[in-house]
């Protein structure tokens, strides 16, 4: 599998595992959306990178 896709997939998993540890402070906006945003972003990049690598390997 493409190394870049593996890296992005690992980043998505790590970001997801850290979400429960994001504290919520009273009177301040909840910032756990950052964790979800990272999980979704890296998951999309992992899929796109894997597809890119797959299409390149088919061409060659």
């Amino acid at each position: 599998m493409d190394r870049r896709a593996i890296f992005f997939a690992c980043a998505a998993v790590i970001c997801g595992l850290l979400i429960p540890f994001i504290p919520h402070e009273e009177g301040k906006p909840d910032i756990s959306w950052v964790g979800w945003w990272l999980v979704i972003g890296y998951s999309i990049l992992a899929v796109l990178s894997a597809l890119d690598a797959w299409s390149r390997s088919r061409k060659s």
């Binding site: 870049r4 850290l18 540890f21 994001i22 504290p23 301040k28 950052v34 972003g41 890296y42």
Partner: protein, 333 residues
């Protein structure tokens, strides 16, 4: 009072060294692409370092001041925390480990606080927030810069006048470098502000109510910290020969703009939400993002791996040194 002045002085020297050390992050790309001459780039970065307090709130200073219960903070504790951070920075510089002075400072304060009064005096919320964003901040920078460079490359790939595109991005680098310097000044200078505020509260020279509204922090603390970091940036600028930009991956003007803008956006978010993050790790993540958009082998992963080791070791390492220092301080007390 004399001891308070001495410890404030040490904190400001720490701030100066922080600016000195991080100057290359702010000016590397503008100098490498010859948009500005080194001396112009240094003044540009130092100016935006200095004015950052006018743009971003003092939430990071507040978080750092509260990381140890103000009721137990003493001159000896802050001194031990600073010494732990300084010793750790010197040790890691000697070992060639890209350690974050911000994390060293936080680790130092925690170590000294725990040595004095146990774990219950550590502010759990700030510690958790800091620990999570040690990992998140470079990953946010990476994701933003990767997305930005892909979008920009897609937008400009049909334009034939490559020279004009290059010229445009060389100009835009002035803005992205300024934005990054604002983020750097805000997040890093505020860490020292927080330490000085904690010291003055602990020594009885400042009312603890300032922590409820960080904007009421005395102006001399704000100005002295920003002056120290800006002077550090000016004096550190000459060391731009070896920069993050060339160490991690080769950067073109387009990549430089994307990396600096992504890192600046991350620092703005962190500063706005009172999250102390490492500016060096953030720009490192952003540069890796630009490099990995070309091909994964464009990134020098051994440098990135050393950053990960620095993540893991800095807070426990500096905390241990600060705890030992606090023990020595107590012996002499």
């Amino acid at each position: 009072m004399f001891l308070v002045v001495v410890v404030v002085g040490i904190a400001l020297i720490f701030d100066f060294v922080n600016g000195f050390h991080d100057a290359a992050n702010s000016i590397a790309t503008v100098v490498a692409t010859r948009v500005l001459k080194p001396w112009q780039a240094v003044i540009w970065a130092a100016f935006f370092n200095f004015i950052s307090f006018l743009i971003l709130p003092l939430e990071v200073a507040n978080a750092i001041a509260k990381i140890i219960d103000p009721a137990v903070v003493s001159i000896g504790l802050v001194f031990a925390g600073l010494m732990g951070a300084i010793f750790w920075n010197v040790l890691t510089a000697w070992l060639g480990l890209p350690s974050s002075s911000s994390h060293a400072l936080i680790g130092g304060m925690i170590g000294a606080g725990v040595a004095k009064a146990g774990w219950e005096v550590v502010d759990d919320t700030t510690l958790k927030k800091t620990a999570v964003f040690i990992v998140y901040s470079p990953l946010i920078g990476l994701l933003l810069s990767f997305t930005a460079i892909v979008v920009v490359m897609w937008l400009v790939h049909r334009i034939r006048a490559k020279r004009k595109v290059n010229q445009t991005f060389r100009g835009l680098q002035l803005l992205s470098a300024a934005a990054f310097s604002i983020g750097h000044g805000a997040n890093d200078a505020q860490k020292t502000m927080g330490i000085i505020a904690a010291l003055l509260i602990g020594a009885g020279h400042l009312n603890a109510s300032v922590l409820d509204n960080p904007d009421t922090l005395p102006l001399w603390i704000v100005l002295s910290c920003h002056t120290a970091i800006a002077l550090g940036t000016m004096f550190g600028g000459w060391r731009i020969v070896k920069t993050m930009g060339t160490k991690l991956t080769k950067l073109e003007p387009m990549g430089g703009v994307c990396a600096e803008s992504a890192a600046a956006a991350t620092l703005f978010f962190a500063s706005h939400n009172g999250i102390p993050v490492s500016t060096t790790h953030t720009i490192t993540g952003a540069i890796v993002g630009v490099g990995s958009s070309k091909r994964i082998s464009a990134v020098r992963w051994n440098v990135a791996r050393r950053v990960v080791w620095a993540w893991v070791l800095t807070i426990p390492g500096s905390a241990a040194v600060a705890a030992l220092t606090y023990g020595v301080v107590e012996v002499f007390n």
